[in-house]
Structures are given as structure tokens and as C-alpha cells.
Symmetry: C2
Subunit: 130 residues, 2 copies
DNA sequence: CCTTGCCTTGACGCTGACGACAAGGTTTAG
DNA sequence: CTAAACCTTGTCGTCAGCGTCAAGGCAAGG
């Protein structure tokens, strides 16, 4: 399988696959003419990467999952390193949820205040800006 | 008040103030020697900007609040344009909260699964990477 | 005069995950 | 012979909000 086919099957771009390779996440063989050649297993790897990135992981966070898959496991999350990352990410998400919730509360308060003390003086729309 | 003093009083840097000015958020006068001169009101403006950025607003979102303050209002959020932004931001935050909550749920599920099917095969630590 | 400490503009760096080109090699089909 | 459709490496651009020099002007004190 060449890079174009893998890209299409994984629902991504060739640029992306080369980027992953540059960061050590994917390791294709090379054919005689220098083309990248991937085997079927890489498709699952790339899909794992994409799924994790979509969830908000960084490339570094993804590495243990790829290694786990490549070690022959059915899914990438059953290895100790992956579990560590999962725990850490869960904690990060929890933190972020807390902060976002606080922000939401502040926004609601501010909205209430703003509507109560509505428009004392209003700025006029400017027509152009140099 | 010169830029250094304002920066210190607002708890930020001169670079930041020049950046805000470049984006039309702050408008100092100039003294004879070309130095930026700010009056007391700008301190409140800068603090408003900082507060909103901290909450996750972008510079563009902040503009209406600055205009509102500059129009003579006690707080920057009482003008119609500010209220529009507040509503939009609140909606954005709600959206984000939903997605983050979904992600959190997925992480928990994945963790549970991972711990159940623990370590069938484990990748060995690599010692170096070229 | 010289140093210190302000100030000025200008321009590059950073983070992350790529998109978008450029300039060229390879293979296949017509 | 040539066009089409792959592939290669390399480099710059993107978004945001600044940090961090660089090179120099201005004001005041010893």
C-alpha cells in the first residue's frame, strides 16, 4: 500500500502521514524507487492516532498507544504506559471542566448584571478603521 | 503615565501593551519625545482586557467591552454589543463543556476497558531514537 | 563624559498539527 | 512522445498572544 491509498483509507492526507513519520509514529518500508510502502497493520495504527488526536491528545501522548498496538495487542490502550497517559488525560480534562464551569458561571453572572444595568451610554458604530 | 508604569500597574508587560495598541485596543497620546502617555482611564481598560482574555476571549471579542468602557460606562459589559458577545461566548462554553464531558466519558470507558484487559503483550522501553 | 534606565521601532521565535506550494523523479496508458 | 497521476524532499504559511533580542534615542545623576 502506498501513501496515497493509506491516506484515503485512513481519511487523512499524505502530508499528515509524512508528518507522523517525521515524528516517529509510523514506519513504512521503502520500495526500490524510494516510495513509502505500508502494510495493513499501519492502517489501524493511523486510525488510532487520529482517534486520540480528535479527543485532544498530543502526538507525544499518542506514542504509547502506537507502541502497544505494534507490540501485538488488539487495542492500543491495554499497556501500562497507555493507562498512565489515560489517567493523566482524564485528570487534565477534569481540571479543564472545573475551570470551564467556573468561567460559565462568571459569564452568566456578568450577563445578568449587564442586562440589569442595560445601556447607559452606548458607543456608536465606527465606519472605518485606518 | 508612561508605558512601563502602566504595565506594572496592570500586571503585564510593555510588549503586551504595544501589542494591544497595534490591534487598536488602547490609544495612548504621545509626548514631545515620542513616548506613549496613558491616562488613568487606560488602566481600567487594560484590566478589562486582561480579565476577558483570561476567561478565554480573543482580542476581537474584547473590542466591544473596551468601546463600552470608553463611552463612559462604569463597566464594559452593559452595552448591547458586549451582551451579544457574552451570549455567544456562553453558548461556545456550553458547547465545549458538552464535548469535554463526552470526551471525559470516553476516557473513563477506555480506562475501564484497559484495566480489564490488562497487558497481554507489553512494548519494551526503547533506549535511544535516531 | 559616562552610565543607568527609561523609551522607540522592527523583526524573529514559540506552540501544534498540519495545508499549500515548489521542483522534480517514476510509471503507466494512449 | 507526452500527458496523467502517482511519488519524493524541502520550505514557508497558519492561528494567538505575546517573549525576546537588536539597535538606537532621550533624560538625569555623578
Amino acid at each position: 500500500m502506498l501513501i496515497g491509498e493509506l491516506a484515503e483509507r485512513a481519511g487523512t492526507s499524505t502530508r499528515t502521514l509524512r508528518y507522523y513519520e517525521a515524528h516517529g509514529l509510523v514506519r513504512p518500508r521503502r520500495s526500490a524507487n524510494g516510495y513509502r510502502v505500508y502494510d495493513e497493520a499501519e492502517l489501524r495504527v493511523v486510525r488510532e492516532i487520529r482517534a486520540l488526536l480528535d479527543v485532544g491528545f498530543g502526538l507525544d501522548d499518542v506514542r504509547p498507544f502506537v507502541a502497544c498496538l505494534r507490540a501485538g495487542n488488539a487495542s492500543g490502550d491495554v499497556c501500562p504506559d497507555s493507562v498512565l497517559v489515560l489517567r493523566r488525560k482524564l485528570a487534565e480534562v477534569d481540571d479543564y471542566l472545573d475551570r470551564l464551569t467556573a468561567v460559565r458561571q462568571q459569564l452568566r453572572t456578568q450577563l445578568t448584571h449587564a442586562i440589569a444595568h442595560r445601556e447607559e451610554t452606548c458607543p456608536r458604530k465606527r465606519q472605518s478603521a485606518p
